[in-house]
Symmetry: C2
Subunit: 686 residues, 2 copies
C-alpha cells in the first residue's frame, strides 16, 4: 500500500487546536470538517469520517468529547491536523506518534520567519525522520478532497469534484482558486497546500498523485523546487499531464555573473530546460494555467500536431490563425482532395483553406457536411470551432452537433464560442459533455499547444566515467587550489579539455621564438576573466616587432600576470560551450552562438545533465541552433556529430570533477569544411 494512502483517504481525523472561538484557524478547520459533509450523517459518500477534537482547555467542544492530547484518543486516528502556536507543535506531534504517522501542520512560525523558526523546523524534521512520519507543512492551509466532502484546511468551501489535483506552494492562491473554480469551470480531485515543504515536497506528492485513480491532471504552483534530481526523476516516471505555474521568472539580482555561460543560463531558463527534459507543461501565467487545466481535464490529447479551424466568422478565424505563431501545433495544410471535397458541399464564397469559413449565415447543413468530411480525415488531430452568434446562427443546434461529433472522434475538439448571453447556455452544455471552451481564440490555441508539450523521450543517458582522466584532472585542479587560484591558466584548461576529446588551439609563451603570424596576444590570468572587456587581448599581430610591443604593453597593464600568444585562426561561426552548476539541478551545459555578443544574441540551448548523445542531438537539431546543421542558401552544414562530442565531453568533465564550478569555451570556432572545431579560449573556474 502507498504510504500516503491513509493520509489522503483518512477514516478518522483529529484536530489539535479545535476551538469554538470564531475567527480562529482551529475554529474554521473544525467547522470545515464537521459541516461540509465529511463527518455528516445524511450524506451519501464512501467515507464517513470520524472527527476527534483535541484541546487541553476543554472537556467538550461542538457538543462532542474533547481530548487533552492525541494519545488520549481511544480509537485509531488516520490523520492529525495541528493548528496551535508554533512553539507547542513538536510536543503535540510527539504525543501523537503512537496514534498516527500522518500530520498536517497548519501552524506558521517556522522557517518562513527566520532563524528562530528554522531551529523549530529542524527539530520537527528530526522527529519526523526518527519516527517515520508523513508531515504536510508546516505553514500550510491543509488539503481538500471534494469527492470525500473532506476539507481538511482552513480555506472556505468545497470546490466541484473532478480530476485535477492542484498542489500549491501558495495558500492564498488556493483560496483564490477555490473561489474561482465554479466560474472557471475547474473541477478537482485534490487540492493540497504544501507550505514550507519541510518533508512532503512536490515530488513525493506527485508520486502519490501519479497513482491516484481520481486524478487525471497534476497541476502545481511552485516558487521553488526542493530537490532537483528527485523532481526530474519523478516527473520522468509520470505519464499523466503535469502542468506547472512556476513563479519567479524575473531575476532582479544578476549582478555578479562570472561567465558568459552564467549569463546565458539564468535560473528561469534552466527551469525551462528541466521542464522540457521531463515533459512538464509550463504555464506562462495564471490565466494560461487555468486554461491549460481546462484543456487537459476536459479535452483529448490530440493524436498529432495538425489543427483545422472551422468558423462562421471571418475576422475571428483570422485571429485564430494568428495565434499559431511560434506554437508547436500547426494549422493543417489541406490536401487538394480535402479542399475539393469541402468545396463540393459549401457555397462558393466559403473558404476551404484552413480556416474553413462557413460564412456568417451558416446553418446546420454546412456544419453537418463539413463535420462528416473532417471526421474521416486522419491527418487532422484537432478541430477548433470558432463561432460568433450572428443574426442567423442556430447556436444551440450547432453546439449539439459538435457535442455529438466530439463523442465519436479521437480528435481533440475545442470550441471558441465568442459571446455571452447568446452562447452561455450552449457553452455549458458543451463543457458538461467534456468539450473545453475558451473565450478567445488565442487561449484555445495556447492551451491546445500545451497538450503537445508533454513528450519526454529520454535516450540512454549513461555517461562514460573514466577514473584515469578524472585523477589527472584532479591533480591539475589541486595545483590551482594549492596556489589559491579560482581559475585555471590556459595551459591547464587546454590540458584538461583535451582529455575529454575537445580540440584546442596551440599557444606559445612570450619567450617562445617559434611564433607564427598573424598572432594574438592575451593575458592569461585567474584575475582577468573577461579579457575583451579589460583590454587584455591584442589581435592581428603581423610581425615580431608588433608582437614585442604588444607583449610589453600587456605586461605593463597587467604586471606579474602570465602572457600567452596564439595563432589567429580563420573565423566563420563562433560557438560558446559551457558548464554551469545549478544549486538545485546540478550541471547544466550551455551551447550557443559565441563571440563578443553572446549575451546579445541569446541564441543558446541549455542541456540539463545527464543527457545522452541522442538527446543532445535532438536539442541541437530542433532548437535555436538548428539552422547551423541545415544545408541552406548554398551553405554546407556544420559538423553536428563533432559538436555533440564536445558537448558530451564538457558534460563528462562536469560529472567527473565535481569541484569545477564553471566552464566557458568561448569562442569555439566551428567550420563547415573538413576543419575540426577548435576551442580558442577556455575558462575553468573551481
Amino acid at each position: 500500500m502507498n504510504k500516503l494512502e491513509k493520509f489522503f483517504n483518512p477514516q478518522s481525523i483529529a484536530i489539535v487546536g479545535a476551538t469554538e472561538e470564531a475567527g480562529k484557524v482551529g475554529n474554521i478547520l473544525t467547522k470545515n470538517l464537521l459541516e461540509l459533509g465529511y463527518a455528516g450523517e445524511a450524506l451519501n459518500h464512501s467515507v464517513q469520517g470520524k472527527i476527534f477534537l483535541v484541546n487541553p482547555k476543554h472537556e467538550k467542544l461542538f457538543g462532542q468529547k474533547c481530548y487533552k492530547n492525541l494519545s488520549e484518543i481511544e480509537k485509531p486516528v488516520d490523520l492529525a491536523i495541528v493548528a496551535i502556536p508554533a512553539k507547542f507543535v513538536s510536543e503535540a506531534v510527539k504525543t501523537g506518534i503512537d496514534k498516527t504517522k500522518n500530520f498536517i501542520i497548519i501552524s506558521a512560525g517556522f522557517s518562513e520567519i527566520g532563524a528562530e523558526g528554522k531551529v523549530r523546523e529542524k527539530e520537527l524534521a528530526e522527529i519526523a525522520a526518527q519516527n517515520n512520519l508523513n508531515i504536510l507543512g508546516p505553514n500550510c492551509l491543509g488539503f481538500i478532497i471534494p469527492a470525500l466532502k473532506l476539507n481538511a484546511s482552513f480555506a472556505a468551501g468545497l470546490p466541484p469534484e473532478g480530476d485535477i489535483a492542484f498542489v500549491s506552494q501558495s495558500g492564498a492562491l488556493i483560496s483564490a482558486t477555490l473561489d474561482l473554480a465554479v466560474k472557471e469551470n475547474l473541477r478537482f480531485s485534490k487540492i493540497i497546500s504544501i507550505g514550507n515543504k519541510m518533508q512532503m515536497d512536490e515530488a513525493e506528492i506527485m508520486e502519490y498523485l501519479a497513482k491516484d485513480e481520481e486524478t487525471k491532471v497534476i497541476a502545481l504552483y511552485l516558487e521553488g523546487i526542493s530537490d532537483g534530481k528527485k523532481f526530474i526523476e519523478t516527473c520522468q516516471k509520470i505519464s499523466k499531464p503535469i502542468v506547472i505555474l512556476k513563479a519567479g521568472r524575473t531575476e532582479r539580482s544578476q549582478k555578479a555573473i562570472a561567465s558568459h555561460t552564467g549569463a546565458l543560463a539564468g535560473s528561469d531558463l534552466i527551469m525551462d530546460a528541466v521542464f522540457r527534459k521531463c515533459g512538464v507543461i509550463r504555464a506562462e501565467n495564471l490565466g494560461e494555467f487555468f486554461n491549460l487545466l481546462e484543456m487537459l481535464s476536459r479535452g483529448k490529447i490530440p493524436p498529432n500536431n495538425s489543427v483545422a479551424i472551422v468558423t462562421n466568422a471571418g475576422g475571428p478565424g483570422v485571429l485564430t490563425t494568428d495565434a499559431f505563431k511560434n506554437q508547436k501545433i500547426q494549422l493543417a495544410e489541406f490536401s487538394d482532395d480535402l479542399k475539393r471535397e469541402l468545396k463540393s458541399v459549401l457555397p462558393p464564397e466559403s473558404s476551404v483553406e484552413n480556416p474553413i469559413d462557413l460564412l456568417g449565415d451558416a446553418g446546420m447543413e454546412r456544419y453537418d457536411k463539413v463535420l462528416g468530411i473532417l471526421g474521416q480525415n486522419e491527418s487532422i488531430g484537432s478541430i477548433i470551432f470558432v463561432l460568433t452568434p450572428q443574426a442567423l446562427t442556430p447556436v444551440e443546434k450547432i453546439a449539439d452537433r459538435i457535442i455529438e461529433f466530439g463523442k465519436n472522434t479521437a480528435k481533440n475538439v475545442t470550441t471558441v464560442f465568442i459571446g455571452y448571453d447568446q452562447v452561455s447556455g450552449s457553452i455549458q452544455k458543451m463543457e458538461a459533455s467534456g468539450l473545453p471552451n475558451f473565450l478567445c481564440p488565442e487561449e484555445a490555441v495556447k492551451a491546445l499547444n500545451g497538450t503537445r508539450s508533454m513528450e519526454h523521450i529520454t535516450h540512454n543517458t549513461e555517461q562514460n566515467i573514466n577514473s584515469g582522466r578524472r585523477e589527472e584532472t584532479g591533480k591539475i585542479l589541486q595545483k590551482a587550489l594549492d596556489e589559491n587560484r579560482k581559475a585555471l591558466f590556459f595551459a591547464e584548461a587546454k590540458n584538461i579539455v583535451e582529455k575529454y576529446g575537445i580540440p584546442t588551439i596551440n599557444f606559445w609563451t612570450a619567450a617562445d621564438e617559434t611564433v607564427q603570424f598573424p598572432a594574438a596576444v592575451k593575458v592569461d590570468s585567474d584575475k582577468v576573466l573577461h579579457k575583451t572587456d579589460k583590454q587584455g587581448l591584442i589581435l592581428d599581430i603581423k610581425d615580431k616587432i608588433s608582437l614585442d610591443e604588444a607583449v610589453s604593453k600587456l605586461k605593463n597593464n597587467f604586471p606579474g600576470e602570465n602572457i600567452i600568444i596564439q595563432p589567429m585562426l580563420p573565423r566563420d561561426v563562433e560557438l560558446i560551450v559551457g558548464l554551469k552548476r545549478d544549486p538545485v539541478f546540478g550541471p547544466v551545459i550551455v551551447a550557443g552562438l559565441g563571440g563578443i555578443y553572446t549575451e546579445i544574441f541569446q541564441i543558446a540551448e541549455l542541456i540539463v545533465a545527464p543527457a545522452g548523445k541522442e538527446d543532445i542531438k535532438n536539442i541541437l537539431l530542433n532548437g535555436k541552433l538548428g539552422f547551423l546543421f541545415q544545408a541552406t542558401r548554398g551553405k554546407k552544414p556544420y559538423p553536428l556529430e563533432k559538436i555533440i562530442e564536445i558537448i558530451s565531453g564538457v558534460q563528462e568533465l562536469a560529472m567527473e570533477s565535481e569541484n569545477i564550478q564553471e566552464v566557458d569555451i568561448n569562442p569555439l570556432l566551428i567550420y563547415n569544411n573538413e576543419k575540426d572545431p577548435v576551442a580558442v579560449d577556455i575558462k575553468i573556474i573551481i
Copy 2:
C-alpha cells in the same frame, strides 16, 4: 460643421429594403430602429428619430407609410440605410441623392465576391465621388450609438452606453462584442462596422471620432489599412488613445523574398513600426484588446512608468512581479526612506520591498496606513492592488478604501481581486467607481503597459531633397533599365550611395594590376543576388596566383558575368542597412545586425519614412541595437551619428528615386575606433 455630423447623429433615417418578412436583414434593421428606443415615443433621450420605410412592393409596413423610393419621401432624410440585393444598390443610391448625402450600404455582393462585385463597387464609388456622398460599407453591419438608442445595424441589441468607440472590419466580431459587452464590462459611444471600406475608411472615421465628445478611447479591429500615409497622418493628429487589434500576423507565403531587407521587414513588423511611429497601442490578441479597452476606458493614464504592487497574497504578488518582464512599465524601486516608512506601520513579517506584502491576515489598518504613505509618494505612477479572499480578508471594506483612494489621486489605480463569489460584489463596485479590475495579474500589467505606449513624439521629418543628385541617380537607373537589368552593378550602386554620404569599399576589375592583398573576389551580376548562397564569393585571397585561380573559377561558374575584386577589410561588427518599399506605407528603412546570419539574429529596427534624425536616434538608442552605442564591458561605443547619417542617406535616396524598389547594404562594416563605416556589398533593385 464636421461632414459626418449628421451621419452619426441623424434626426431621420430611411430604410431602403424595409420588410416585415422575418429573418431578412431589412426586417432586423427596421425592428432595431423602431423598437430599441431611437424612434420610441416614451423614451427620454436627446434625439427622437424619425424612420421612413422604403420598399416598392408595399404601401404600408409596420403600420406606417411605405415609400416606393427615397426621392418620394416628403421630409428631410439625414441618413439612408440600403439593404437590398447588390445589383439594385447603385440605382437606389442615385434615386436618393437629392434627399441625403449619407448612406450605409449593408448589402453584400461587392468587391468581396470577386470580379463581378468589383465592377459594381467601382460604379458605386464613382457615384459617391461625383455627388460628394458619405458611404459606409458596402458589405457592413451598419453602426450603433447606445446613447441615442440608435441601432442602425442588423446586429442584435444595444450595448451599455460609454466612452469606447469600436470600429470593426469584421461584422462577426461586432456581434460577438455586443454579446460580450456586459460580461466584459465594456461600454460604448459608437460601434461602427466598416465592411469593404469603399469610401469611408478607418482614417476618416478616426478623424471624426477624435472630435466626438462622447468618445474617450478609439478601438479598431482591422485586417488591412487602406491608405498608409493618410492613416499615419490621422493617428499622429489624434491625442485620444487608439487601440488596434490588427489581424493577419502570420505571413504564410514568404516564398520569394529577393533581399535580406525584405526578409527582415515582414509586413506585420512594418505594422509594428507604423504603430510605434504614430502612438497606436497594438493589442496582441482579442483578450488583450478587451483588457486594453477596460483599462483605457476606466483607468487613468499614469504620470510615469513606475508601478507599486500592494498584495495580501505572497504567491500572486510574485506572479505580478513576473508579468513585468519585457514591459515598458517597471516595478518601482523603493527608496530607503519609503521602505523605512512602510516598515514602521507594518508587522515585521511584511515585505516592504515591491511588491508590498501586507500578509494574508491583513485588515483595514494595514491598507489604511500603506495607502496613506503611497498617496504622498510622487515617484509612483500606478498602484496595482492584488487581493485574494482569505479567511480573514475584509474584501468589501478594502474595496471601499481603494475606491476612495482612487478618487483622490492622479495615479493609475488598478485592481486584481482574484476570485469570484467572495469578490464579485466588490469588483462591481470598484468598476462602477471607475477602477479597472482584471482576473489575473498578467492581464493588469499588460493593460497598464498599454497606457504608456501612446507616445508619438515626432521630430522634424523634413528631408533634404536634392534635384542634382536625383538626376544623376536617375541616369544610372535608366541605363540599367535600358539594359533590361533589375539590379545595379556594384560600381553603379557605389556611385549612387556615395552621393548620399555613404562611404563604400574600393574595388578593382579583374584586369586591374594594382590589386592589393588580402582580397576578395565576387561575381557582380544582376542575376546573382545572393552571392554567398550561390558561391559567387571567394574570400581571403593572399596573392596574385590565388587571385587568378579565383577569378577563373568564378568566370567558369558564372559565364559572361562581371567579376570584381575588393580588399579584405578588418571585420568587427557588421550591419545591414536597407530599404523596402511597402505597398501600403511606402519606404521603410531597415537597420540591423548584418552578415550571413542576418535572418537568424533578427536584431533589426524598422523605420517608416519620413523619419527625422532625432527620431532615428531614438529608435537606435532605445531599440534592439542600443547595445552598440553604450560603452560597456570595456568596449567603446560605435559611432551613432555616422550610422544615423547613413540611414538618413538611404532614406533620402528612397524618397528621391521612387523607382528604386529595394536597397540592401550588407555588410556595412562599422568600427568603434576612429575608422569610418564602410559599405562592402550594395544591392540596388529597381
